[in-house]
Amino acid sequence: MKVELRDIHKRFGSVQANDGVSLCIEPGTIYGLLGENGAGKSTLMKILSGFISADSGEILLDGKQVRISSPAEAIKLGVGMLHQDPLDFPPLRVLDDFVLGSPGSWLLSRRRARRELQELASQFHFNLDPEATVSSLSIGERQQLEIVRLLWLGAKVLILDEPTTAISAQQRAKLFAALRKLAKQGQTIIFVSHKLEEVEQICSEVLVLARGRVTGQVAMPFPTEGLVRMMFGQPVMLGKRLDVPLGRPLLELEDVGVSPPQAGRLAVKNLSLAVREGEVIGLAGLEGSGQRLLLEVSAGLIRPTMGKVLLGGRDMTGRPYREFLEAGVAHLPAGRLEEGLIAGMTLTEHVALVERRQPFLVNWEVAAQAAVSRIQEFNIKGRPTTRVEELSGGNQQRALLGLLPPQLKLLLMEHPTRGLDIESSEYIWGLLLNRTLLGTAIIFSSSDLDELLDRSDRILVFFNGSLVSALDARQATVEQLGELIGGKGVA
């Protein structure tokens, strides 16, 4: 089936997720959709598969304009999407999961469905036991189940969103073989990924998105450097680095291993790292490659399953989060309103929460004054009585920074400037780097390569749960970093 998207726009609050995206895919193609986190790939595909609707733009299937307002409608039209986390029903048996979305009559013939499930699965050399429960399958097998289910429902366009994030190398080989076979049968495959190597390996055409716009459309093969430049753009030079003299070792991780919070997710193993006072470490890598686990283990939010965590020479392995806080560690999570601030409470209330001046009673006048002084100091556009959810993203981030205690040894941050304009991020980095003058060490994760290169002393690159390289940020280039993040040269 031929797929055409014309001038798709979609905005979420202040973020323009898709800004005039157009594409055209011929049947029988494996079409790559490449871009970094937040480039707008998933949004575009969710629009095509009916999960969300576009603000404006057209969708054409086989030349006919269609309106797709739900996933059920999409599959009726022949468009099926395989999500990053399989949308299946873990407690059900494989066969039940398989027939669940089938339209039509109330009565279903299990015997027929079972036969067809097995026929489809064997075509692609998938081993799916109809009687097993879905929860007993690996992520890779659950993907296989989703693929045959969508095909059985009549999908002619198959969208795969980051399908290889959580599967083994053998399963990946099997998946790729199946995709090639499907394309030969005339299916249209859209392969969404930020892994360069895979896109180069399997796709015949690639569309590159960055910040919601199309930055390139090429036939494969194509030089890797070109793709990287389209993904990340040209480097922009910003504020000066403050070459702070580094002090004593502050945080030391010795051979740390962390098991994932959810089964089937990736674990981190054998992580060793020493961070010195005043040092800024940038964590690079695709989302979920292990950066978050490193930050959380350093903050004392999760316990390592092996190895040691030392702070200023003191063994803190397995100590509660509170002791990390008392030792001067702070953690700023990525979700500003989900994990950082408390929606429904005012700036004054936030200040009162973090700044306890008396044992029992809150002095609201003093708290309001303290809020005023922080608003000025951190350039927050709001008033003491403003509820935090009414602030813009940049002001929320400034408020979060304003709530940190003045004396900090180690500051851990996820995406400190995600979604902020250049002016706001400049301001925030100014505040952050000033802290390093006092000896605070900073570890932050980011998907913005320029930010990583401009702000860090060292960049650690993660791929699939392991630290694959450590770079001196002064000498690294965007191309080099982009290739490492995409897993180039990693077995």
Binding site: E338, A343, L353, V362
Partner: protein, 353 residues
């Protein structure tokens, strides 16, 4: 929780919506009364005179009001912390059980002036323990407080049946009507000619006032609200969330337990322990606090109003041979229509954004 509870209302539009909710409830109640075969005006009149027609009736209203007030005080704490403490009924019962136990043991040897306050402490402890149990089930057993609370409610009420028919049965007769009533010395002293104890009223109002101050002006209250609105962020800020949740359950249980004590020793009470002694006051208080939108001040008149409907509706049964549960139906309709109007208001506001 956010879907039900809204910010304290502001402005005229909000007040009008609330009034509209009450109006809808009245119309629906009138319809049901018509179906039940009585004139709504007559029934409302009966409800009113049934609650306020004489000083005796007013005394009954106040007697029903105080336990609801005490439970409201407790529930304001748990609701602020984002908890649905359905177990409040069981906490009342355990307060009554502990208070009864203490008075059975010490009622004879010690003077009433000492036994009554001690029994109150026992009630606080009984309810508090039952509340903490719900909290521990939630925190360490991963049992949602709604289910934990329901389970503990059943255990508490079964325990009263066992006690009343077993170890604490009346000499000679074992009947579910309850234990042997305590002598008048162990009743709370009442006003002259008005069978309500000033102690009860004072206790109920003080409890609510105390909680109002606590929620508005203390770090404990502020932290509880932070936990209720965003537990993860509160934890990351360094607030010890588990301790605060347990404290919320303990305090709510303690207030409910005190209500249990009032139900045993109150001036117009039955002065004994009987099965179902909590009489649904805890559930009623949940509705009151929801209706008051977590406002301590509003929960005072609302709980009084509900107590009046409850007592007034007894007249429907006595004088018109209607089922006295019609009072409960009216209470329920009130709550539902006001919550629905709030829900509609929120939806309209959201669309306006």
């Amino acid at each position: 929780m956010h879907s039900v509870l809204t910010r304290p209302g502001t402005g005229l539009a909000d007040l009008l919506l609330r009034l509209a909710g009450i109006l809808v409830a009245l119309i629906l109640s009138a319809l049901i009364l018509l179906i039940a075969g009585t004139s709504p005006l007559d029934a409302f009149n009966l409800l009113f005179t049934g609650a306020f027609g004489s000083s005796t009736k007013l005394a009954y209203v106040i007697t029903a009001w105080v336990p609801v007030l005490l439970c409201c005080a407790g529930l304001l704490i748990t609701f602020s912390a984002g908890l649905w403490n359905i177990g409040v009924e069981g906490q009342i019962i355990m307060g009554a059980v502990f208070a009864t136990w203490l008075m059975r043991v010490l009622g004879d040897p010690l003077p009433a002036g000492i036994v009554l306050p001690l029994a109150a402490l026992a009630g606080l402890a009984g309810g508090g323990v039952w509340g903490v149990l719900t909290g521990m089930l939630k925190l360490y057993g991963n049992v949602n407080e709604i289910f934990g609370g329901l389970g503990l409610n059943f255990i508490a009420s079964s325990l009263t049946v066992y006690l009343v028919l077993g170890p604490w049965k009346r000499p000679g007769i074992g009947s579910t009507s309850g234990t042997q009533p305590f002598p008048p010395a162990l009743w709370l002293p009442s006003f002259e000619g008005f069978n309500v104890s000033p102690v009860e009223i004072l206790l109920g109002l003080t409890a609510v006032a105390l909680i109002a101050v606590m929620l508005r002006g203390t770090y404990f209250g502020l932290r509880l609200k932070a936990i209720g609105k965003n537990m993860r962020a509160a934890f990351l800020m360094g607030i010890p969330t588990s301790q605060h949740l347990l404290a919320a359950f303990a305090l709510c249980g303690a207030f409910a337990g005190l209500a249990g004590w009032v139900l045993v020793v109150g001036a117009s009470s039955r002065h004994n322990l009987f099965p179902l002694i909590s009489s649904g006051y805890g559930f009623l208080a949940i509705l009151v606090v929801l209706l008051a939108n977590l406002s301590a001040i509003w929960s005072v008149p609302i709980s009084f109003f509900f107590a009046a409907i409850g007592i007034g509706s007894l007249q429907l049964a006595l004088q018109r041979q209607l089922d006295s549960s019609l009072g409960g139906v009216i209470q329920g309709l009130l709550v539902l229509s006001i919550l629905v109007t709030q829900g509609i208001r929120n939806r309209l506001l959201k669309r306006g954004d």
